[in-house]
Symmetry: C2
Subunit: 593 residues, 2 copies
């Protein structure tokens, strides 16, 4: 098996057994698209449910759903129309297009120190020229780099000016809905708003199978908090979860050692800018770990300023180590500040700030300007009203400064003199303040997580593949077999299957081939429990239950199975507690294979 990596082994298994395969296969396929088969679709839904519970519902936060095709106005305001693009080079000979960084890294694979993502267009062009970078496919000369918008563009309805884009993130649907969602909840900050849904990124030429997709399911939470009350009460709950961070400053110096810190230390040392950000990073480690990826195979890579998205003040890529592709990003943790909300407030003219009442209203001394209307009225006649309003709207400080500088303050073409106004100090009661919340965002790609969970579950045991998926992820939780496909055993097994299914367990049935073959097939797709109906079942209703990981077997009344299996799958019961131990020598089981 030398030379065959886990990606190849898994891809073969995934196709044969129904986890995933490239889309549009019968038409030659298009890179960047992936189909999830029966098992893959279930696995993905389990990953989604897990994320939703862990990040959103468990905290009392909420999740919404907004469209994929999004009005152009939204992405004009958010900055995506200007910023969501990649530098592309084209081969002057074969006319193929490449992402600029791909062309460069292909040409000089040894130069891991080149941060192409951080280069500008002209830097890329210079680099290509100086280093004689050629077409990775045919060796032809490359064009100058140009920007390619990586959003899918379309028209909404029959009007050519109604442009829509396939959203590259679910976040904008959340930002523009923030106020409405806030009002349907308890109207208190902090508030997390999650969304799971399809997003699209029109990659120039994706090449990494299930890892770089043009369409994938994002699991994203925009977490809104008051920057002046930014304490996270859960931070010490995650004290045990160290954050392994590859810091930007270390990366800049070519170092690749991670700094291990607790979330609290990370904030204290200024490595992570917000407590909430550090908390979600710790939760992220726990989440990915619960998918079967060991903590030591995870790290956070802090992005350098030029590598960050336009909306982010600090970004950490949550990466995990995969066999073929090395460190791969499965999540991004961005500190988006008030960038997006403020952009939408500005462009839409809608107030998306929230009112935060003080516990006790405070008194506040303020200076106001009082136009002397008895003087201005006779002077200005009909125009007096607009000038008075203009004065009231202006800041007293600005007016005074103007008096000092030029002797007057101009409103609507009229020169207001010091004699026209009076300054007063007043005491105002302030019941609260308006806040544009800041946002931290943990954001996951579901398909990458599905692939990663499969890669880490893939193990071999005595020349057989055992997919050791965490029990709560396994797409099929219980397999039911009749020992023989005759003598009424299939009928009983079918009843067992149906009973388990009605009780909400994910269960499947298999009657073909030897029992050993069927155990092997169940192991290969990671079924935690296999239940066999045999001749004894007809007498006393007992069945054998087999454990995927130890291949041990116990015997129990099948009518107790739904409850027992549920408890086992939730780790509330040990396998040995599922029934009376059965002494099945390994050999005996194997000869049946």
């Amino acid at each position: 098996m030398a030379g065959i990596d886990k990606y190849e082994l898994l891809s073969d298994l995934a196709k044969r057994r129904g986890f995933f395969w490239p889309s549009f296969e019968i038409y030659g396929g298009i890179s960047g698209y992936l189909d999830l088969g029966p098992l893959g679709a279930k696995l993905k839904r389990r990953v989604e449910d897990k994320w939703l519970n862990l990040f959103v519902y468990q905290h009392g936060y909420v999740a919404i759903s907004t469209p994929v095709i999004t009005a152009e106005k939204v992405f004009l305001a958010s900055g995506h129309v200007s910023n969501f693009k990649d530098l592309m080079v084209t081969c002057t000979q074969c006319k193929r297009h490449f992402k600029a960084d791909y062309a460069i890294t292909q040409a000089m694979p040894a130069r891991t120190d080149i941060a192409v993502e951080a280069m500008s267009a002209s830097e890329i062009d210079d680099f290509i020229e100086k280093n004689h970078v050629r077409c990775p496919e045919c060796g032809g000369a490359l064009s100058k780099s140009e920007f390619f918008s990586t959003m899918f563009k379309t028209n909404i309805g029959p009007y050519s000016d109604a442009i829509g884009y396939g959203r590259p993130e679910a976040a904008q649907g959340i930002f523009i809905d923030f106020k409405r969602v806030f009002e349907t909840t308890r109207e208190k900050l902090p508030l997390g708003i999650g969304q799971i849904g399809t997003v699209m990124r029109n990659e120039i030429s994706p090449r990494q199978g299930p890892i770089r997709l043009r369409e994938f399911t994002i699991m994203e939470m925009e977490f809104f908090f008051d920057p002046e009350e930014a304490t996270c009460p859960y931070l010490q709950r995650v004290d045990e979860t160290l954050l392994p961070i590859l810091l930007a400053k270390d990366r800049e110096q070519g170092r690749s050692e991670v700094t291990q810190v607790t979330p609290r230390e990370a904030v204290k040392k200024g490595l992570v800018l917000t407590e909430w950000g550090a908390y979600f990073m710790a939760l992220s480690i726990q989440f990915v770990n619960s998918l079967g990826v060991p903590k030591e195979k995870q790290r956070f890579e802090e992005k350098m300023p030029k590598e960050r998205s336009h909306y982010s003040t600090q970004t950490f890529d949550h990466q995990i180590l995969l066999e073929r592709w090395g460190w791969v990003e499965v999540a991004g943790h961005a500190y988006r500040t008030d960038f997006d909300l403020s952009a939408h407030i500005k462009v839409s003219g809608t107030d998306l700030s929230v009112f935060k009442p003080y516990e006790n209203p405070i008194s506040k001394k303020i200076r106001v300007v009082v136009p002397q209307e008895s003087v201005l009225g006779p002077l200005l006649k009909a125009k007096s009203k607009t000038v008075v309003e203009g004065l009231k709207a202006a800041s007293p400080d600005d007016i005074e400064k103007s008096f000092k500088d030029s002797g007057f303050f101009e409103v609507q073409g009229f020169k207001v003199l010091p004699a026209h106004v009076r300054f007063e100090e007043r005491t105002e009661r302030e019941a609260g303040r308006r806040v544009v919340p800041h946002v931290v965002e943990p954001s996951y790609g579901a398909e990458r997580l599905v692939y990663s969970a499969l890669e880490y579950a893939y193990t071999r045991s005595k020349d057989r593949v055992v997919l050791k998926l965490p029990m709560d992820l396994a797409p099929t939780q219980v397999m039911v077999f009749p020992l023989m496909a005759k003598d009424g055993l299939p009928e009983i097994a079918t009843r067992v299957r149906e009973t388990l299914a009605i009780q909400g367990l994910e269960v499947d049935y298999d009657e073909s081939g030897t029992i050993g073959r069927r155990y092997a097939r169940a192991d290969e797709i990671g079924v935690p429990l296999s239940v066999t109906v045999d001749y004894k079942t007809k007498e006393d209703q007992t069945v054998t239950i087999r454990d995927r990981d130890t291949w041990r077997q116990v015997r129990s009344d099948w009518r107790q199975l739904p409850e027992k299996a549920r408890q086992y799958l939730r780790h509330e019961r040990e396998f040995s507690e599922l029934g009376a131990a059965v002494d099945v020598p390994y050999e005996q089981q194997e000869t049946a294979v």
Copy 2:
């Protein structure tokens, strides 16, 4: 409230409480797009899970997931590029575009007999001219009708010839994957392959709020069966479920009475062409009924030939009665035969047929042609091989006919004479046959079902809205209140909430306002159970539990709540069995409001 219909009442409630609202609101909105708020998103996921279990998993079928943006080749082969379009008219004055049938029905709302969907372009143009149909907005003259493709079009990657469309149905992703999915399962027909996912239909100008969307979630199953073994073993299980069918032949005669038949009768009388189709229609009635829509508010409208999609041999729209829009389609049941598979086989060149082994291989007499190589060899030398192969590939009948007609049979320019071949009868063993499966398709729009469930749940009781959602749909299953927001009650209530949440229940917490107000708020969003922590809880751990529908209360130890609530929500336990009855006079409760 005269003049305000349930749609308006519900839209208001939906916005205030977080079920749904129009998308892109802060940018003025775009019709045909809907956001689901925190409660709506949960409700939709519950509808999806219910459908998935009932139609797919309960039968042992499978579900997959394929991309939204789909390669043009797929929709060229399936006929969508040619057929998925609407007739559009444009106002010559205000330049607005309208779906032709909308313009006509707006102009003559009384003429319910006009089946505009069944009209051709020229029929529409004639009708508009004869009946002086004008622009519904400004009264201007209308253009001739033209086709508008209702698929969203985009480009995949930087190559302008790589066209992709937003899929208008999930079915094609299933068809092109059929063979692969078939191979990952037990390789037996029948096989249902389901898919839940986003689809897009670029409506010309959608006008029905949550009912006509440009983007929605489809829940679709393509059910593949052998047309020669088309018996549905479950048909008699649904004998009790009458199908109310508005037949095409009755519609053509202007009748609107439904024919009530059992699924078996429907097949026997030839009203429904397949047993599987009739079975899924019955299941459909049960499913929609379980969402809270009474059976008498449901019917099937058989589409007339011209109204059917290009791929369908028989179509029934499953309609339900809504207050504002009358009979609205929530599902389509189409008999797609082998149309789609055969189209993809033809265009892609991939064999999507399945091999069905006979139980006992049969012997079959066949005629073969045996080239006389001893004659042909010396005659043709090097060319002999190709001619021999050409003869073997040709049909013996064709060769004989050619001999009879012209005295020879031409292969590769060589005239084969009768003396060059011999005909033989041979007995061949046939182990099975290849089948291109036929397909019936039940297909649902999730958002319409969500809206319908809400409309039927919307009831008023003593001037209060009670959303009587079926218990298994309720987005929030349990509300937890501290009687007062002080004295340690919030802390206990929070613990109760967390315990219920960890046990997998959908639970929320509310401490603001009087207890009566909070009950009212819980009723308005359809929470089946409200739990109140009061001063007695501190002494004996008991809480009150209130029933949404009867407003009765019982008292029970909160630590037993997770199990009891789960059983109640699954209809395994009556409300009165949840605890000791509490005698709370309605008045007492109301004064607290």
